[in-house]
Amino acid sequence: MIDVAGNAFKDAILSMDRSTAGSELRRIWENGGRTPASVESVVRLVLEDIGNEWERGDLSLAQVYMSGVLCEELVAPFLPERGSAFPSDKGPRMAIAVLEDRHTLGKRLVSSALHAEGYFPTDYGSGLNAERIAERAGEEGVEVLLISTLMLHAALKVADLRKRLESLGLPTRIIVGGAPFRLDESLWREVGAHAFGPTAHSALSLMHSVGVIA
């Protein structure tokens, strides 16, 4: 549940009002005992709420994206610097990629949502085929792959990715997202994904449901 301060912060970022959003976040930091957790929890709730409103058709994709950009920018000074080892500092080894397509917005939204939770998936980039993703996941022992697609023929290639991961003997879980899966809610099962995320913020809960986070 977002409190009054959280709502003020949310209104400010949806209006792209950097100055007010920054002031509200500082107030949250002060009132929360100057801890990263106080800021993280509010930002997480706000972004989750914005994602849900987009899912219901009450907000636009542009608002979701720009809110994420602004939150990342504003929240950075309040968080400790993360380590430089494997990009994911906590949780399972995870990677994110755009299969076939070059459109990176979905990948960016999911990454932002995970960053806000303190998870940092390795970014494999875009325009990749199933073979390349599977090989790299194998080399790096990736436990969960977050796959974004824009076009139907790319979404269908998830089946190839699953097959390649299995042929390498990898237990890697695949979580998919993107327009084709939104337009046909049975598609993710058909292509052998382990889960489908309708919003960027569903990624974390899906990692619980596919068993890579306890």
């Binding site: 994709l61 542009a62 994206y65 720009m66 070059r102 139907l152 598609l187």
Partner: protein
């Protein structure tokens, strides 16, 4: 007594004047699907205007559709600007790396000439389609809206930041893109297109807030459409239309391509008499439909949208996916023949 069958052109024009033709017009929009019909690779197919025109003729005969479609693939316009296109074996060609790598490049951007090779293939195709149509079926040309084209020109994320944070460069990009769009649309009309489909997926509240659309994409569309020398259909390429439909009606567009995620009956009530509707079969789900599901879906859409005219049945994205079975398309055709005949029984 049954009225004599109309030609496709008569059927479409009657529907667009918000009257009831003999049956609901069917627009199965085939782009790369034509390569399958011709047994060619998609890359090779799109280099051959003669093959594209022949595929359009065959597919129209086979599925009894009411238009010929001069659309090849989305990033074709980007090619004219020097951008990269990536061909797939089983889907539409996609835009490669954006050619605008930095917003500052927008200052030096020039309008491509109409003799760019990729545009020439379309114009050649349209001339051939005009002959194929022989005045009995509408030939549809296609442009990307100046407002949505930058997603391919510079990438979605940098473009959103441009809209929100770089007003001057955004306006400059819209001026250049608008000049290209008007010239490109009018060249297609001159070559044989009877109408222009103005693809504008960003013109949806799924994509940007209504307030932002009003001061950006709406203003651009109103200006551009007023300078296109033919009727225009605004198509949102699967994005929901209900949030912006009232504004789109003020742009000068006469047709609105809507989404399978819109409430079709409510949208029909919203735009009745102002816009004709084009849509909205779910192309992604269509891939796995049984003939019975195809029939039920077509029937429901016709009942919601066809009474009173002002409705063309089509998929909701603007192209039939490669993976859709012919069996399904035959079922769509047959359902239109059976349930699309006027008078339609049903409420909307």
């Amino acid at each position: 007594m049954n009225a004599p069958a109309m030609t496709s052109l008569e059927r479409v024009l009657t529907a667009l004047s918000h009257k009831e033709p003999d049956r609901t017009p069917l627009f199965l929009l085939f782009s790369h699907y034509g390569a399958k019909e011709m047994g060619m690779s998609i890359r090779e197919y799109f280099r051959r205007p003669d093959r594209i025109a022949e595929a359009q003729r065959r597919l129209r005969d086979k599925f009894d559709t009411d238009c010929l479609y001069g659309f090849l693939y989305g990033p074709l316009e980007v090619e004219a600007w020097g951008g990269e296109v990536i061909f797939a074996d089983d889907g539409p060609p996609n835009a490669g790396q954006p050619f605008i790598r930095s917003p500052a490049q927008i200052r030096d951007l020039d309008v491509p000439k109409m003799d760019a090779p990729s545009l020439g293939i379309v114009l050649d195709t349209l001339r051939r389609l005009r002959d194929v149509a022989a005045g009995e079926a509408p030939v549809i040309g296609v442009v990307m809206s100046p407002f949505s084209l930058p997603v391919m020109q510079m990438g979605f994320e940098p473009y959103l930041r441009l809209i929100y944070e770089e007003q001057e460069l955004f306006e400059r990009l819209m001026r250049v893109n608008s000049a290209f769009c008007v010239a490109w649309a009018n060249a297609q009309i001159e070559a044989g297109a009877n109408a222009i489909c103005y693809f504008d997926p960003l013109a949806s509240t799924d994509m940007i807030p209504l307030k932002m659309y009003r001061r950006t994409g709406f203003s651009v569309a109103r200006d551009v459409i007023s300078r296109i020398n033919g009727p225009t259909a605004t198509h949102l390429a699967s994005a929901r239309a209900s949030g912006t439909a009232d504004l789109i009606a003020e742009t000068g567009a006469t047709i609105l391509g809507f989404s399978c995620q819109d409430d079709a009956a409510a949208l029909k009530r919203q735009v009745r008499g102002k816009l004709s509707l084009l849509g909205a079969l779910n192309g992604v789900a269509m891939r796995r439909w049984t003939p019975e599901e195809a029939e039920a879906t077509v029937r429901a859409l016709i009942r919601s949208c066809a009474p009173g005219g002002g409705f063309l049945l089509a998929d909701n994205h603007g192209e039939i996916p490669w993976h859709v079975k012919e069996e399904t398309l035959f079922a769509v055709r047959d359902a239109v023949r059976q349930w699309g005949r006027y008078p339609i029984s049903g409420e909307c």
